[in-house]
């Protein structure tokens, strides 16, 4: 799964206008307001489903369903997974970022983009690769190993970007005040990385709660895995919706923990970018162990999956390449992903516009609802839509519009972050200039605003595209009969332990994700040099 790792990293535009310009934030028109209101209402469906589920079964029954040994077991599993994996990812990610950004380690230009590459390998493909190498792999530690190797870039990327942006003069002052390298790191650098680390950690936590394929493959039961199994046994059952309720509570706890840890801290604007590069720290005798460590991490995170995929392809030979199946899957996947990406990005425009250009109640509601739904596991959203479809709009059940709608809900934040950042960079002065040159608001939008936001929108759309193409959980639940996407083919083969036949699909999935991973890497370096 690929997600924007720079997350909420300050998109603030360096506004030069200080004068009271409150009225510059125009009021959105009826069309924009209506679109935004409908989207916000739609984002409430998953939460509504959970609450409605609890209410409809009655409190006694709900209590019985929640307080039982199975739930306790899932709770222990899920919480241990988060508690172990998130700190591990933070240590790996921060250490890595510091080594490649701040030391004289050889080959930094090579390592720097390399450690973003794991983002191109979906976690369930990574899991498949590890099971191929160690067939007995299972349980908590398997889950920790695989997700740490898949998700550490979520911390590495924003931390590296922040490190590049920090003003070295601050660290030099600390040195002059008598701190050694370690002292500077812990007392000056680390506090400044806090927001980047917290943002990355939250993203990892959310992914851990939502991941299904990677854990199912190593027979490790988390809430998401259990909900999925429950759904296959009795779909639309009360037990499933109660489990989803507990999962949502966990998710809210995660958001709350992050919000508390973040406190009132804000990204302080550190000059207009550091004018000088920081002086590299001399590693000396530590050079060798550091290089070995990096190489080992690269082998574990990238070597293993690449090698396994290639090995299965080699073993399977030409037999596993079923052109008709792969072709169909590719066409269906690309079709669904393209439609969802375009629709999501188009819908992101009014939402982003409200968030950037107005500062009313609507804008705050939009921000808040997006923040929450972006963190909800895909399985909850999928279950909610299945339930709503079955009960209220039967014809939509297992239809293409419903699954596209699910993708829009699930991946809207990815498009939104980019469109928002792009829109924030279009100075209102440019639109005003266009208006004073005789262009109507509509013409101005197409000739100036849209044109300037296009690169950011394209980046957002490609992120959504890859997220949809590699999505498994919601797709398995919502896909119309007859739909077979790449990830569905991959999943059914690897569930039947036909690893060789699954290999071509894994390869195509990884190849699809590579260009977008490059976009992510570029974006993070652009943040560093505005």
């Amino acid at each position: 799964m690929v997600a924007p790792p720079v997350g909420r990293a300050g998109n603030e535009t360096a506004s030069r206008q200080v004068a009271p310009r409150s009225s510059r934030t125009a009021r959105p028109g009826p069309l924009v307001s209506a679109t935004v209101a409908i989207l916000v209402a739609a984002t409430c469906i998953p939460l509504g489903y959970v609450v409605w589920g609890a209410v409809s079964v009655g409190w006694t029954r709900a209590y019985q369903l929640v307080v039982r040994p199975r739930v306790g077991e899932l709770l222990v599993n899920t919480v241990s997974l988060v508690v172990v994996t998130v700190p591990l990812c933070v240590i790996v990610g921060v250490g890595l970022a510091w080594l490649v950004e701040r030391t004289d380690l050889p080959g930094r230009a090579f390592w720097r983009p390399l450690f973003v590459a794991p983002l191109a390998i979906p976690a369930f493909v990574n899991s498949y690769a590890w099971v191929g190498v160690i067939p007995s792999l299972h349980g908590l530690w398997a889950g920790v190993l695989i997700t740490t190797l898949s998700y550490f870039p979520f911390v590495y990327l924003p931390v590296a970007a922040t490190l590049r942006r920090l003003d070295p003069a601050v660290e030099e002052s600390a040195r002059a005040l008598g701190s050694d390298s370690a002292g500077v790191f812990f007392r000056v650098v680390l506090p400044q990385l806090r927001l980047a680390i917290l943002g990355g950690a939250l993203l990892i936590g959310v992914h851990l709660l939502a991941e299904f394929g990677a854990f199912a493959m190593v027979r490790f039961d988390t809430f998401t895995v259990a909900i999925f199994q429950q759904y296959q046994v009795t779909f639309d059952g009360a037990a499933g919706s109660m489990l989803a309720g507990v999962l949502v509570v966990l998710c809210m706890a995660l958001l709350l923990a992050e919000a508390l840890a973040r406190g009132t801290a804000r990204y302080s604007r550190i000059g207009a970018g550091a004018p000088r590069a920081a002086t590299s720290i001399h590693l000396g005798r530590n050079m060798f162990p550091a290089s070995v460590g990096l190489a080992l991490l690269a082998v574990l995170a990238l070597g293993v999956p690449v090698w396994t995929i290639l090995r299965w392809l080699w073993i399977g030979g030409t037999d596993v390449w079923a052109p008709a199946d792969i072709g169909t899957a590719l066409i269906q996947t690309v079709g669904l992903a393209a439609v969802a990406a375009v629709l999501t990005t188009v819908l992101a425009f009014p939402v982003a516009w409200v968030a950037v250009r107005s500062n009313g109640v609507l804008a705050r509601v939009v921000e808040g609802s997006n923040y929450v739904t972006s963190s909800l596991p895909g399985i909850v959203t999928a279950l909610a839509l299945v339930t709503v479809a079955i009960h209220f709009v039967r014809p939509l059940y297992q239809s293409v519009p419903l699954i596209v709608f699910a993708y829009v809900l699930l991946f809207m934040p990815r498009a939104l972050i980019n469109v928002r950042a792009g829109l924030a960079q279009v100075a209102p002065g440019l639109e005003e200039a266009s208006r004073s040159l005789g262009r109507s608001p509509t013409e101005t939008f197409f000739r100036v605003t849209l044109r300037l936001t296009a690169p950011a929108a394209a980046a957002g759309a490609s992120l959504v595209f890859v997220a949809v193409a590699t999505e498994l959980t919601a797709t398995l639940l919502l896909a119309p009969t007859g739909t077979r996407t790449l990830s569905m083919f991959f999943w059914s083969f690897s569930s039947e332990l036909d690893y060789a036949s699954a290999a071509p699909y894994a390869l195509v999935l990884v190849l699809l994700a590579i260009p977008v991973t490059l976009i992510l890497y570029r974006q993070s370096t652009k943040v560093a040099a505005p």
């Binding site: 004068a19 100075a427 005003e432 200039a433 266009s434 004073s436 005789g438 109507s440 101005t444 300037l452």
Partner: protein, 349 residues
Amino acid sequence: MTTTLDIRGLGKSFNDHTVLDHIDLQVSPGSTTAVVGSSGCGKTTLLRLVAGFEIPDDGTIAISGRTVASPERAVAPHKRSVGYVAQDGALFPHLTVGQNIAYGLTGSARSRGVRDRIVELLETVSLDASYASRRPHQLSGGQQQRVALARALARKPELMLLDEPFSALDTGLRASTRKAVAQLLADAGVTTLLVTHDQEEALSIADQIAVMRDGRFTQVGAPQDVYRKPKDRFTAEFLGDCISLPCTVASGIAECALGSVPVQTSFGDGPATLALRPEQLVASLVSDSEGRDSIGTVIAIEFLGHDVLLTIDPAADIAPIIVRQHSLNPPPIDAKVRIEVLGSGVALK
């Protein structure tokens, strides 16, 4: 002859904070009016109201006799026939200089007519035709500003609005760009409303200046009049250094520590404050035998190259007076000097 811009009773508030309070202003065709005031006084809001980016709470704005804004009805900015040049030029970063200039013109930027017009406009702002293919970021600040002006001129607006157009430029460039732009607008006969916080800029460029303070005009008039005959102390001090002396006015003559000074505008006899400009004072050495006129002692000298600032402690019981005069042979420190007043002063309450 109708005025090009006619503003009557204009008012605007943001969040209960009054930014403009009953503004009246007339700008006659082909002239340049500068609105000058410190930052936050409401002058930019005035410009934005005229451009149509904001809608007034009270009052009306008419351009060439057509009412474009009133609390009931506002003409959209793109239908007002005004040119607007923002502080930083606001050039479209995704378009070349030529495309920027062509933006407001009808027809493709590649068509013959439009291309000729671009070259003509670039010439008007003293830029070579080769600039048309450049990108905005390849231009210096002054060039960007001139392109923004050419772009605004392209549609032959009835009224040109300039929002601190030179403040983003460095000092040397500012003076030359200002001169060039003033000349160009005068030649083109474009009616201009300019907003600035720089009084020197306002005095040098405008036919009429309006001094603004807290959303009101303190005085509107020709630069010389407003500078020489300020109506109040704020206007007097805002437009340049000012020496204020307590005085008593009787039939057009103010008696003060520097002697008798004729006053231009008098509100009647009695005690008042006499306002003088530093260039009206000349300090000269007095020999011991002379005892005429007012006498003071030089207590500090500040050498500024072309000019010298003398701080003189007058014999009378008033604050030291600062005299600015050319730096050739200034009186030494501790010297006894006589202060002569040239021209007349203004008596203020």
